[in-house]
Symmetry: D2
Subunit: 421 residues, 4 copies
């Protein structure tokens, strides 16, 4: 294997990402001397590609000893891993296209570094630590988690009594989930789906399973390009929201008969099952935009099929006994990370998401004495600080409250409101 050559393209990718992550440039500038993470080992578990690399560099620039590992079998890039391992203060264990077993070993290697803090994706490393290295639980200051799936999983750990440290639900901050989930997942899931299949969105029947932030992004961006969109949901408020926003809402069994393209974004499993596939049109395309590759029942599909073949790079065709073909993308893995054209989220999105992780980590460490074990909301002030930084890098100025306006917000008597306090 040619590591040097690898590192070279890795550095090119890092250069590009760095040039498009201005909030991280601002963070490095601001914290280079202050070094808030000095003396701490921070483990980062994520898709190890260029944007994550810039985040790792920035943590190191702020004083951390950084150890990294991949959060998903297929989403890390070897050239970026090689380039990162050449940097001071950064060490890691990740590889593209590993088995589940090998992924567990890479995680174990990262845990050897006995991290003080974990910055996690889908709670992969946190769950691994709780399961395999309970001895490390004592020393851990906390966890910051960046995905919907991970926060849900940490809540399950709390319910199970398995969490003994504070966890910041970074995904729940508006500055993360509105941009990363709605815009980042929305854009990248659709563009990768379209270029992997060479199909058109305009005029298609698109079924979006799940109307959380990721589903919202996918559904509205698909409609905005001329698709007719049907949403499936299990939560009545989300269903009603979709309806009021002009989308069709149907149970999965009905939606199955209508869709040309199906995209799952529920954070759950077996959302599209054999019973649904049996009802689908010839040529239906199935793709997943949720963290785990369990939202579409690929085994169920295989069991239904009389034949299967590679239809094109990233697309497997399953032929049902009656001749209909159903196409599964990327074996049901995250289409924006596993597709042949995939590069994960756009750079500006990860600039903001990782900035939230950075600032949440800093806040957690500064307040760790006061934080009980359990899942915590990141304070609004942290969120606002990231928003302000981002606006600054965009050159956008906003207004400030006048004194009279501040007094108005503090008043409640009718006279004071109408005639000034």
């Amino acid at each position: 294997m040619d590591t040097a050559r690898n590192a070279e393209t890795g550095h090119q990718k890092l250069d590009w990402a760095r040039a498009h992550m201005p909030v991280h440039a601002a963070l490095r500038e601001r914290f280079r001397d202050q070094r808030p993470f000095a003396g701490l080992t921070i483990a980062v578990c994520s898709h190890i590609e260029a944007k994550t690399g810039v985040f790792l560099e920035t943590l190191a620039a702020a004083g951390a000893e950084v150890v990294f590992t991949g959060s998903e079998p297929g989403s890390s890039q070897d050239d970026v891993v090689a380039a990162l391992n050449e940097q001071a203060g950064v060490t890691g264990y990740a590889r593209r296209g590993v088995s589940e077993g090998r992924l567990a070993e890479l995680h174990a290697q990262a845990l050897e570094h006995e991290p003080d803090l974990i910055l996690d994706d889908a709670a992969e490393l946190t769950a691994r630590l709780a399961h395999l290295r309970p001895d490390l639980l004592e020393g851990l200051h906390g966890v910051c988690e960046q995905t919907t799936t991970g926060v849900q999983r940490i809540r399950a750990m709390v319910a199970d009594g398995a969490l003994r440290f504070p966890a910041y639900a970074v995904n729940q901050t508006p500055m993360k989930h509105e941009f990363d989930n709605i815009h980042g997942t929305g854009e990248s899931a659709l563009t990768n789906l379209m270029l992997t299949t060479n199909l058109l969105l305009a005029g298609k029947q698109v079924v979006v399973c799940g109307y959380g932030d990721c589903g919202v992004g996918i559904a509205h961006k698909a409609r905005a390009w001329g698709a007719q969109v049907t949403v499936t949901e299990v939560e009545p408020r989300r269903a009603l929201r979709a309806h009021m926003n002009g989308l069709a809402v149907r149970p999965m069994a009905e939606a199955a008969e209508i869709g040309d393209l199906f995209i799952t974004a529920t954070g759950n499993r077996q959302v599209i099952r054999a019973e649904h596939m049996e009802r689908m049109r010839d040529g239906a395309v199935l793709a997943n935009a949720g963290h785990f590759n369990v939202e579409i029942d690929a085994e169920g599909l295989a069991a239904l099929a009389a034949h299967r073949r590679e239809a094109r790079d990233g697309v497997e065709a399953f032929q049902l006994p009656d001749g209909r073909e159903i196409y599964l993308l990327c074996e049901g893995r995250l289409v924006n990370l596993a597709a042949p054209t995939a590069m994960g989220h756009p750079a500006e999105v990860m600039d903001q998401t990782f900035a939230m992780q950075f600032m949440a980590a800093r806040h957690l460490l500064a307040h760790r004495e006061a934080l009980a074990a359990g899942v915590h909301v990141v304070p609004d002030t942290v969120d606002e600080e990231v928003a302000s930084l981002k606006l600054e890098t965009l050159g956008i100025a906003i207004d400030a409250l006048t004194e009279g306006q501040q007094r108005f917000l503090d008043a409640w008597r009718t006279d004071d409101l109408l005639h000034g306090a």
Copy 2:
């Protein structure tokens, strides 16, 4: 005055509203025998027109002794008031086009009934009670408040030590603010603005002051019809959200120079001031969609102007000394309630908003022993129940979690997630 004639058109309006508020029909059906409000006096302060009337009827059908009063000087309709006063279990005090002083008297009359519960709009009656009838504070079980402005005002009362009972922030529930504020205010502010001026949205420069839920609705619906939209904000996260959603974000001083139409929706005061009006284009149109008529500084505009005249019904023209004219709509009052064409929010929106008030009231009363004085979030279960009711009236079915999916949500170990718990 011809009250009988009044009552007749009032009944026609109530009939129309009733036919378009199916959630209230479902509530009457469900609670007619159960009578959860039996023995209680409920005071409702709101814009007293047909949709509010259906809400009042429904409270009475569920056993309440209902007393009503208007929340705003210009937004109640005499014929509906007359028709309501003919109904059993409903009494009230409201009139169109009253002075501030007269509005205070009408509120005082309503308070004579010594309500057990207040269902409020902009905290008008709650503030009045705390200010003028502190003797009634003791007996009050609580308040449910349906507007952004009102919740903010009740929080100011809490900070001021003036709140001695629990208050449910009904506005904060997704089922209220997403529909009422985004869709209800969004649609009705724009349609009334357009028909009052006979102007076109397409091709206009629209400035929306405030990107809360009302501002979001107005901004996106204006853009969707071909306007170029600029947002002004004081909160960095809202500003960034607007930017990422494709809107221009500018300080008010810059926006003032660009806009053809200005719409305020901040819940604050003096958002558009003389210093901004001086910079505006000839023909700029100013309208307000927030609760109080203090968002646009109408006095400041009058002071700037060399002449003023009625330009058309609902539109006053202020001519600056250099000849430019600025048009103020409805004296800066809520354009969707005070415009010549205004009928308040669409019926389906109020069906949902008032259903939230109804169910929140029921929940507050059932749990009042457990609720401390202060502002409370309405539990998600109440919100979900209203959403389910509404979906039912729409004939929309959704999926339920399977047992395996529920187990998945409770699991956290990697193996359990990938291979089933």
Copy 3:
């Protein structure tokens, strides 16, 4: 009748319209001295309200002797008619709420003036002249027609051998139909529909009959505010266009079962018939946005109904024997002209449409010798001139072709294209 009072409000309306029709101001400025219409009698048939009034003034300012009459029984405004009749060079015959017979008489009065040119709406006056005053055909220089319906009708006259003069299809110019039909009809049909019913667009099933320019405007603006839209069509290309733009396309018989709101914009008759009404949901709302009140079969609906009543101003309820109610707006007349809140198209739209009529009239007169009898396309140069005028009034500058770019457009050999001619 108080004509003076009438004229006063008419003048106020004209003032407002004049202030919002800057292209007409530019035309008056440009042609005041030149007087291209000097010595000619121009008959204008249209909805006689304030915007039309500004057009008439402008024709008079350019030298014409102007005679006007109404194009539709319910769309003229008496106060504006009175104010116009006070102006020099303008005389006319129009009245609000006349019978069909009376409308014919008013047309006959206008024809007494023996016009040299007709500027028409729906070909009303042209058809009347050909039918009733064939003696005037000889002297007529030509016709400019501004509606889809009118152009179609003039083509029918051609096919019937009834046209002996040139007719400019002003409606066919992009500067007319894209703005007047898409934006003008689109916005005004929907806002009037919504304020007449006090209903919400968001979440509604809207059926748009006809996907010509008016239908396109209505359909896309309805969807943009959260409606699910179904289109019905008889032309395959329009149907496919709607499909590719993300709208559902269905035959009327199917659409009838789905819709909450139905809007016709076909320029044909009996588009919604009793056979469709029988299949509709309880509460379905029917409105028309096409010129004639024959698109919805109101007589068929009346024949189906067991009872009918006024449900609210502008809305008649027809109760079917099984209890379902169907609501018909404005007796099936143009909802943006006949609704209680109606003021016709927005001012900026008519500024452009009438400017097209003005410039087309000027061009037709200048070239009348060269133009054969029949329907003619208005030359692109006329269209471009109006567009340039409008851009100027908006303060918008655009680029000009460089010399090299002009050469490129004239070249065709590969070498010249790739390396410069």
Copy 4:
């Protein structure tokens, strides 16, 4: 070179395309026995990839002797060329990544077959024939041209006296340009731009040069995903259309200072010049969606730059002396064909575009005696037939005119219109 291996992946690609081009399946079915092209040699010049391949097969199935060649140096795929050359009735000359000189040779080879008809892209082969093989002009029955650029170029040939045969402007048919240009170019230009740069559309300032059909598609789809869009134009009507549709319109010199991403779609040259590049922001991205790589002045950019380097696959960075970097995509070639992720237009789009070419070719041949030399509009009936075929493959039914409706369209007298003919 491994032709066999090549042909294998070529066949896989053809299989995928065939499965997603149902209109072509219908054409093969319909014309297999009829063989309308029997005895004729048809030369097709286009991007030779899988969708084009299915078109070629279909021509052959309808009896033609097909010869093909590439229309652009970088857009043909060797594996598809190999697979096509294995098919009966199809022979061709195309190769990926050839020089301009080599492309001319390939064209010459195709012309050796002395075609009876040319189906062209950007008029490449037509211009070549007129320029290099005028001897063949005599025998040529005609040309069908599918691009805006090509139609403009053929008009230049007419003006230059170089055209001696009829040419069908297939691009001008609604069924081609609305779908291929608006949806096909719109989607594929943006998705390829985004995946080549790994950037986000939401929140970007996008400048679209040219508001023809391609520009319309790009501009509206960019805005629909959260970009702020500025349009530059040289034609006042297009500029005004953009303005009324809610887009900013500016001269290029101003737009240059604002844009984050620039996309050219004008069909002209030197649209973005050094004088504009000098004013751009650091990090500006330039991409082209027009046929020729001359819209962006790449040489001018190189002359400005102090350094240049490959920033990532498909992206070259030009560093100005003051340190700003400007990124040029794919050397200014068509981004949806030359990008690393590019696969040209989506399959459904080419299904329709090539079906238009097929049906236009058939019509031209059937009527060639009656058609004068020059550019002709394809009759609406051809367009409608393709639309009907496409609707059929989609399973969409539409209404038919009733007899009464047909009579209405033929009537013009008021009485007949209002009361039936």
